[in-house]
Symmetry: C2
Subunit: 321 residues, 2 copies
């Protein structure tokens, strides 16, 4: 069932790609098989996260960046993650409207991620979707988030470079600085750069960066843009691949990949050992009894844990009888 879709993906068919993403998104049992198959096809394309408070013009800016990259003949993909909203349909419609100039372009692929179901998994799923986009062979992979909460910061873990977009209004700048964005930003963009307060915001960011400057890290950039008139967009479009290149040259790109791979293998192993632990019927029976005993106040959950773990060592010989 998944084989024809993979073939489509490898022959750069976007319908196959879209269907595979849906399977990953829905935690379909074939997800493992999909990831296993695409791993050897991945091209180590740099993944660029774009985050910042709502209303700073992230989508408009991204649209201009995409138009610029398309002029250079590059193919571009975007994953939009809106963890604060459970409305998938709405978000997709939103992208179509917001990025209407590029949405129908053959060399562009935009996909919104639903956040129904467990939130814990959304960063992992975003990463897997990027793996698919990488295997497909896009020249650029963007991850756009909508807000600036903890979820967004978690999601930025799936990118190699984080572009933090701010605007000189309504205290957004200061708020964002407080919200932990200073720690994750590689490129800071002050959009709506023609408005009052833009230069002060640039100074504020530079000052804060200097205070935090860790000499072992690549120095973050600060770029002022006006997305609507394309001012500064060229600079940004050039900065991104340069940043990626230097990540690869310094080896940081592979250190990042190592972290991901280690996490992925650990997750797979742990899922399996936990699954095989509970496969044993004896343990499930003991668990049922423990739950009752806790409810009746005879034991606490920690005593239940001890009882179940004592059973573990006996299991290998006992349970198969």
């Amino acid at each position: 069932m998944v084989e024809p879709l993979l073939e489509k993906l490898f022959s750069r068919d976007k319908v196959g790609l879209a269907k595979l993403i849906t399977l990953i998104e829905n935690d379909d049992p074939v997800s493992d098989e999909i990831i296993h198959r695409i791993y050897p096809e991945m091209k180590n394309t740099c993944r660029i996260g774009v985050t910042g408070p709502p209303g700073v013009g992230k989508s408009t800016l991204l649209e201009k960046i995409i138009m610029e990259l398309r002029k250079k003949g590059k193919t571009v993909s975007v994953v939009v993650v809106d963890p604060s909203s459970p409305f998938t349909g709405g978000a997709i419609l939103g992208d179509r409207i917001r990025m209407s100039k590029v949405y129908l372009d053959e060399g562009v692929f935009i996909r919104s991620m639903a956040s129904r179901g467990s939130l814990g998994g959304i960063a992992d799923k975003t990463k897997s979707v990027c793996d698919l986009l990488d295997a497909f062979g896009f020249d650029y992979i963007f991850i756009e988030t909508v807000g600036v909460g903890q979820v967004e910061i978690d999601i930025m873990d799936a990118s190699h470079i984080t572009v933090v977009v701010l605007a000189p209004e309504s205290g957004n700048g200061i708020q964002a600085l407080k919200a932990g964005l200073m720690e994750i930003g590689d490129i800071f963009v002050v959009n709506k750069g023609d408005r009052d307060g833009a230069d002060q915001l640039v100074s504020l960011i530079r000052y804060t960066l200097e205070l935090k400057q860790d000499k072992s890290q690549q120095e973050p950039m600060v770029i002022k843009t006006v997305a609507t008139t394309r001012e500064g967009v060229d600079e940004l479009v050039n900065a991104v691949p340069n940043f990626c290149k230097s990540l690869k040259e310094t080896g940081k790109f592979y250190v990042q990949k190592e972290t991901w791979v280690r996490k992925e293998i650990s997750r797979l192993v742990e899922r399996e050992i936990v699954g095989s632990y509970w496969k044993d019927n004896t343990k499930r029976v003991i668990l049922d009894k423990c739950v009752k005993d806790v409810i009746n106040g005879k034991i606490t959950p920690f005593e239940a844990q001890k009882i179940l773990l004592e059973k573990m060592s006996e299991t290998t010989e006992d349970t198969e009888k």
Copy 2:
């Protein structure tokens, strides 16, 4: 170190309570010990979740409810969870302002939860904090969330009753209905009930509930309130304990508790088996090699998983040498 704090908690000292909450919030290693000790002291107090879109007047309404309960001599605790904002300080300050009439009342305890760190854990932590409030002995335990995203819906899992607050404005009602709130609401409150559209919103909620009505479930209530003039607040204040009482009579309260206890025991057991798996140095060495091999394209993470799991069966005899 934790013993004196627990003694304070058991003698109903709010300073001890606040410090224990901080330890739980920070994932302090003593968290397990704390939960273990308070389990026998829990009084099975009903936990009431209050959720709904921003701006519908949840805090004002809750303030009126608390004032009403205080008149009846009841003690009240509130956990405020704002997962979309990583600013703890701000949220706490916000509560003080928003609930200024009750904040300094001796019989009231209000606590904001930070959402720094992993989001996956915030619902679990909220539950543990409620365990503490239950052990302390408050008559009422409220959990208030700020938005209506997936996180908020997850957090409502920590409550026995969910009160969904809506208001007749800016399409909030319809949005909230779409966002999955219809599924989790036990009591629907249409606040700002004196505004245009309040009656239509009440009808819309009733109609949607009828469509979904599951005869095995307790029928959800719909109450119209005007928090500022206290209209409908009495009805709501009476509805909540009645709902709790019927949850206990029908046994649903204990079914809920069973789910929580089962989850808690499973989490503790799984944490331990995963931890003890990786304690083995051989496996960590193999993991390191697997990570390298995946990066170099020799194997995929799934092949790495197989290699590590094969090691598992050999471990019991081999590794201690």
